[in-house]
Amino acid sequence: MKPKVLALSAIFVLAVYSVLLVYVFGLAPYITKKSIENWTEIEGSREKKFLDTKICAECHYKVFKGLKNHSSVSCEACHGAGAKHAITRSKEYIKIDRSREFCLKCHLDIPGRNAVKTVNITHHKGVLCVVCHNPHS
């Protein structure tokens, strides 16, 4: 009885270990490096939603050249993601927000905001900022 149990258990252990070895050195994606290459490719070829100021300047060259105060700010920081607009060239897919709240997102004088010029919320209340200040000059 005893040698039979021993032999059976030995066969069982061998089977388990051989399956593990085959998986780890033959099939496991990390060891075969396949999954890493695949995923790097998938990740690298994802669809872009934002483009670049250089691409905006190809069509809107006059606006781009005239920029002064906001010259270091990229177009899509204010106008939103522009990949769709660059393909369709339609106004639907680009954001043009002239509201006070939109300007005050960056220019409201909250504490800790030292890198930009700020204004108080009471500064000409009710008048749109773009009436006096042109953001593109």
């Binding site: 695949n38 790097t40 070829s45 939603k49 670049d52 990229s74 939103g80 997102k105 930009v116």
Partner: protein, 206 residues
């Protein structure tokens, strides 16, 4: 990536741009990059700290009542550590380093066991609510592969974020790291982060 804390104005453009670019729902409070606002009063032995986090498309910094006078904003993201705990703990080897040193998640292999969420000392990884796998910053791998900047860097109006290759001698990051004093978050964890901060009082950052 180098982040200049003095230039951050807490506008939250980076958070919204990142969420749009990487298909993270705008209204849920999970994000690949987020901005933390700190209001601090220096007292001995322990400073009083008030912390507010922006990780949705709504900016809380515009109407928050700060308790203390010293206020600063800290943009946070995955640090792409050279010795990343999330890579070390992943049981299915879904996380790996690319040739450039960027830490990526293989979403086909990831089983969503959340070990990496526990392991990350920066809280930079989270479970994607729609895909059911973990998700984190990839430095916009699909953009930098094509020679563009990451979305958060593009959207930052004050150039508080600077992206580049440290080994490339012509890059801006190389010049900054050569000249300026920088700090990293939680150096005691031994993770060797690759996101450097200029002018950060890292005592308060958790």
């Amino acid at each position: 990536m180098v982040i200049d804390v003095n230039k951050c104005i807490g506008c939250g453009n980076c958070v919204i741009a990142c969420k749009i670019e990487n298909d993270i729902p705008l209204e849920i409070p999970l994000s690949r990059t987020w901005v933390e606002g700190y209001s601090v009063e220096e007292t001995v032995p322990k400073a009083k700290v008030q912390k507010v986090v922006m990780n949705t498309d709504k900016n809380p910094f515009l109407d928050v009542e700060w308790k203390y006078s010293k206020v600063f904003f800290v943009p946070r993201l995955c640090n792409h550590c050279a010795n990343a705990p999330c890579v070390n703990v992943c049981p299915v080897y879904a996380r790996f380093y690319t040739k450039e040193g960027i830490v990526l998640v293989d979403k086909n292999t990831c089983i969503g066991c959340k070990y990496c969420i526990v392991a990350c000392p920066y809280g930079a990884t989270f479970l994607h609510p729609e895909q059911g796998v973990t998700d984190k910053c990839t430095f916009c791998y699909h953009r930098i592969k094509n020679g563009l900047e990451p979305a958060c860097v593009l959207a930052c109006p004050t150039h508080a974020r600077i992206f580049g290759d440290v080994n490339d001698e012509n890059s801006e990051v190389y010049k900054i790291l050569k000249e300026k004093k920088v700090t990293v978050l939680k150096p005691e964890e031994g993770t060797f982060p690759r996101v450097f901060y200029i002018g950060l009082d890292s005592r308060f950052v958790e």
